[in-house]
């Protein structure tokens, strides 16, 4: 017994340490990449806290609420309006795609998801031309909101489709057997049960629209400058300023907060098939 055990005991530490070294290298690699990921944010955070002459200052963030306040407010307004439109459009759409039979469903789903794959500049130029020559929407905030909605509603559609597919039909059948109308079944049974999927869609839409600058640059009405567009314009024309960095940091912190809250409440499962997983 002991004669067999001894060589194994002798061999184990070496193999063990080599394996651990490999695993450690893996962890180090992942963290190194993650640091690079967060580096642009962290350096901006540091920069946003510097005052004149390299001092430490929080005034930049007061400036965000003061001078950039209007931009932030417009960003929230555009994001909010887009959320409403997306919800109205994606909720019945996803329900029909999962629960109702109709011809050409697959093709239709692909056609509805196409906006995700069209470059922002193409959406921007096509909409600005159409707004100018056909729709006459160039001075209305609705032009911007519909541009945001068409680009992001597939992000709302997919999580709801996933959530509906996970929901067994028996809940709806039971509700119907107990005498609920279709309307009641949907709002009292289905909607609460697909809540996480709907929230995932809302969060994704909010984050993308809240930080969108490219399509906005093309189609924004003259009196609307959302916060990310302001950042883009300032960085491109006015050089760098700690206040601009403070605005960018604020935007990212708000977005990150929204994601963290979502992860905490619902976990990551409902984001399958979208950006994050």
């Amino acid at each position: 017994m002991s004669t067999v055990a001894a060589p194994i005991a002798a061999a184990r530490p070496r193999r063990f340490s080599r394996r651990r070294l490999g695993a450690l290298a893996g962890h180090v690699y992942v963290w190194a990449v993650l640091v690079v990921f967060v580096l642009p944010f962290l350096t901006l955070l540091g920069y946003s806290l510097t005052g004149p002459g390299g001092t430490y200052a929080v005034q930049n963030f007061q400036y965000v609420l003061g001078s950039f306040g209007d931009n932030l407010r417009q960003s929230f307004l555009v994001a909010g309006m887009t959320l409403v439109i997306n919800l109205l459009v994606a909720l019945p759409g996803a329900y029909a795609i999962v629960r109702y039979p109709f011809p050409g469903k697959r093709a239709l789903f692909s056609l509805l998801s196409l906006p995700l794959y069209v470059p922002g500049a193409v959406i921007g130029i096509s909409l600005v031309l159409v707004y100018n020559f056909t729709y006459h929407l160039t001075t209305s905030i609705f032009g911007l909101v519909f541009a945001m909605a068409v680009g992001t509603f597939p992000l709302m559609l997919s999580p709801i489709v996933v959530a509906l597919k996970d929901l067994p039909l028996s809940f709806e059948e039971a509700a119907a057997c107990l005498g609920a109308s279709r309307w009641q079944t949907f709002w009292r049974v289905v909607f609460p049960l697909i809540g996480p999927g709907v929230s995932a869609g809302l969060m994704l839409t909010f984050i993308i629209v809240f930080n969108e600058y490219l399509v906005t640059l093309f189609v924004h009405p003259p009196d609307v400058t959302t916060a990310p567009l302001r950042v883009f314009n300032l960085v491109r024309t006015a050089g760098l300023a700690p206040t601009t960095a403070a605005l960018a940091v604020t935007m990212q912190l708000i977005s990150f907060g929204a994601i963290l809250v979502f992860f905490k409440v619902f976990g990551t499962r409902y984001l399958k098939g979208t950006y994050l997983i």
Partner: protein
Amino acid sequence: MRAEPLGLPVPVIADEARRRERNRQLVGLALVAPAAVLVVLFLYFPMAFIVQMSFTVGSSYLSPTGPEYSILNYDAVLSRYLPNVLVTLQLAALSTVVNLLFGFPFAYVLVRRIRYRDVVRAFMVFPMFGALYIAFGMRFVLLPGGPATPLLQALGIPSTAILYSLPSVVFAMSIFTFPFMVMSIGAALSNVDPTLEEAAACLGARPWQTLRRVLLPLTRSGVIAGILIVFGWNIGTFAEPVLLGSLNEQRALAWTLYQRGVVQTDYGLASAMSVVLLIIAVVVSYFSLRYSRGALVD
């Protein structure tokens, strides 16, 4: 009462069933209608419009004598603006290669070794906030006097040589699209049974051989899908070349079409450029979807 339909001749029941089926189809179509209307009004009609516009000369669409049709715009895209097309393709291709080289090991470690995946995911959302903040952050890092200055001085590189250059643009683009590559490869890797790698090792394969003979063939679809997704996203790169590129990188198509179309109102040329971009992006994403097999609807 309930048994009564059974007394009816079969064709009546069949008719009733068919009518119900048709009703359900109609309700389904009615429920998708808002989404379809939104997409048609704000995506497909505008696309058709720029295709038409791309065959009109300059801003002649507005001229009182009616638009002047020709293929001059496409001619210009393929001759005078050919360098712009090539730079765009080059940037997208380079950042795809960078993403593949760094993304495969990352996805492997993430799927096989790491238990705190949610923490990694939380970090990986930062690029999703947009290429703008990445480009802004890198511009600040690399500017003379920025945090990277001592390092660059030690290496003897003038910081403007790095700031306005191809590598910095490619680097920013790679950060932006890295999660897509990791997501795609990771999904394929998590479907591969880890015992296959152990079996390969037991049979005497070296790590490199295991990668080439076992892992890559089994994750091929995920790798290809990742390459195509990343390429498709990067083809429309906008903020990175503008904020980090030299004059060469600033020729990227998306930025050029903004300049020509919105600033100089040469609608025809800008439309032709966006049609080219659109075709590349749609073809690439079509194949990426075929490879990722990520269809939600079946």
